[in-house]
Amino acid sequence: MSSDNIIEHIFTPFQESINSEQDVREEIRNIMKDIEKSLREIVTTLQIIHRTLNGEEISAACFTARSLFNVVQKGFEKLDSVIPEGQYYRYNDHWRYATQRLCFLAALVVFLEKGFLVDKVTTAQILGLHEKSRIHLDLEDYLMGLLNLATELARFAVNSVTFGDYSRPLQISKFVAELNAGFRLLNLKNDSLRKRFDALKYDVKKIEEVVYDLTLRGLVPNSGGGEAVE
């Protein structure tokens, strides 16, 4: 091959392929910018749970979060059309962290609304990752979201007591204990999920101590229909 041929046959086509990868990344980044904006707004919205006891305010926050998740869904729809077939794992560094945060937020909303643990399919639906052709919800990301949830709930348990809601910590305690039991069954390899799981025990301990404080002082509400002690 002559010198000119090398350039024509070998390097010129490369620049195109390099450019098209750059373009894909640029598009992904733009989409993720929008998704992350909504993500930030959901985070900020749900912070209200640490500042109020008022159930209606919390409901309203969940409602707002739900509508923000609709925006997120549109973002992931776009993303699905941008990722080339079979290259999910080539690019997923761009959305992995945001997806984990969104799983956490979806699980928090469902916990606040219904009190139970959201499953993976529902989470995928809330995020807009369900039954897409090129993107999906990765197991690790969903689990990471649940671990983040436990940490947020430990904080929530403390602040609930401060605002005089003594039944919330019991609900949280039961919920997180189950989460913990579930995770203990898994034989995780030595990766970021494992490391994050090791931190779960601190959340469990924190929540147990809150329940202890309440029980010791006879502040645990009677499981009857009524309100807290006072």
Binding site: E36, K37, R40, E41, V43, T44, Q47, H50, R51, R155, V158, N159, V161, T162, F163, G164, V210, D213, L214, R217, G218, L219, V229, E230
Partner: protein, 257 residues
């Protein structure tokens, strides 16, 4: 040969002339930078001392508190009038962003102290643009303003929450439980603010947000403890408590019952 060339180069050589001018310019820049760094170090030290001083307002003796606050105010004004003026004069006619790194740490520490002082006197603090407007000096009839980037204001606020955390726990230590809730609430709002910032590529903000989170956790635990202990009046003790004068004198703590 190179050696001969070197020997033949003298100060009339045009290249050498050029570089002699460059030397002047580079030395000026370097000297100016160094001078600003020294001012910044002085500013940082003095502000740390003011913050330390402000923590001693943690008393109910109003007169004592006022003395301390006035001293802090004087010293803050002094920094503003003396040290920052010196920096502003050094920057007069120069690109401020070029020297910004030289005084950014002093500036942030000053904001931390100033805002802490304002919070203690008024329960609130000034916006960036208000403070920014005041960074204005007169020099021989010229008005010169000192560059005060908003990011330094925000990072100063972040450090300020660390002082609020200290304050909150000290408040509990001396029994000002009422203030604990107020301060904790303030930091909750600041934390929400930080959570909402989208600034890709600025790791410093993320790091500070994490520190605020940790401070906030400590404050929340303080408030939790006040609530949980206060909520418990053992049944068999109730009578005693009602009769006790000790408890009655503390109605400021009673608001959370």
């Amino acid at each position: 040969k190179g050696r001969q060339v070197v020997e033949s180069i003298d100060e009339n050589n045009p290249v050498i002339k050029m570089f002699l001018a460059f030397r002047q310019e580079l030395d000026d820049k370097h000297d100016r930078f160094e001078k600003i760094v020294k001012h910044s170090r002085d500013i940082t030290i003095e502000n740390k001392r003011i913050i330390f001083l402000l923590h001693s307002t943690n008393t109910d003796v109003e007169s004592k508190k006022q003395v301390v606050l006035e001293e802090a105010n004087t010293r803050l004004k002094q920094i503003f009038e003396k040290n920052f003026r010196a920096v502003a004069l050094l920057l007069k006619g120069f690109d401020s962003y070029q020297y910004q790194k030289a005084y950014t740490s002093g500036l942030q520490e000053f904001i931390e102290a100033l805002v802490f002082y304002q919070y203690l006197t008024s329960g609130s603090f000034e916006k960036w643009d208000n403070i920014n407007k005041s960074f204005q000096y007169m020099d021989n009839g010229d008005s010169i303003s000192l560059l005060f980037p908003q990011i330094d204001y925000i990072l100063g606020i972040a450090d300020f929450t660390g002082e609020l955390m200290r304050r909150c726990i000290n408040d509990l230590g001396v029994g000002n439980t009422n203030d604990c809730f107020k301060t904790c609430n303030m930091v909750k709002h600041i934390y929400s603010g930080f959570l909402g910032i989208i600034n890709p590529g600025n790791k410093e903000l993320g790091r500070k947000t994490y520190v605020i989170k940790q401070s906030l956790a400590k404050m929340e635990l303080v408030c939790y403890n006040i609530q949980i202990r206060g909520s418990e009046i053992p049944k068999h003790m109730l009578l005693n408590v009602i009769e006790s004068t000790d408890v009655n004198t503390e109605d400021d703590e009673g608001y959370y019952h």
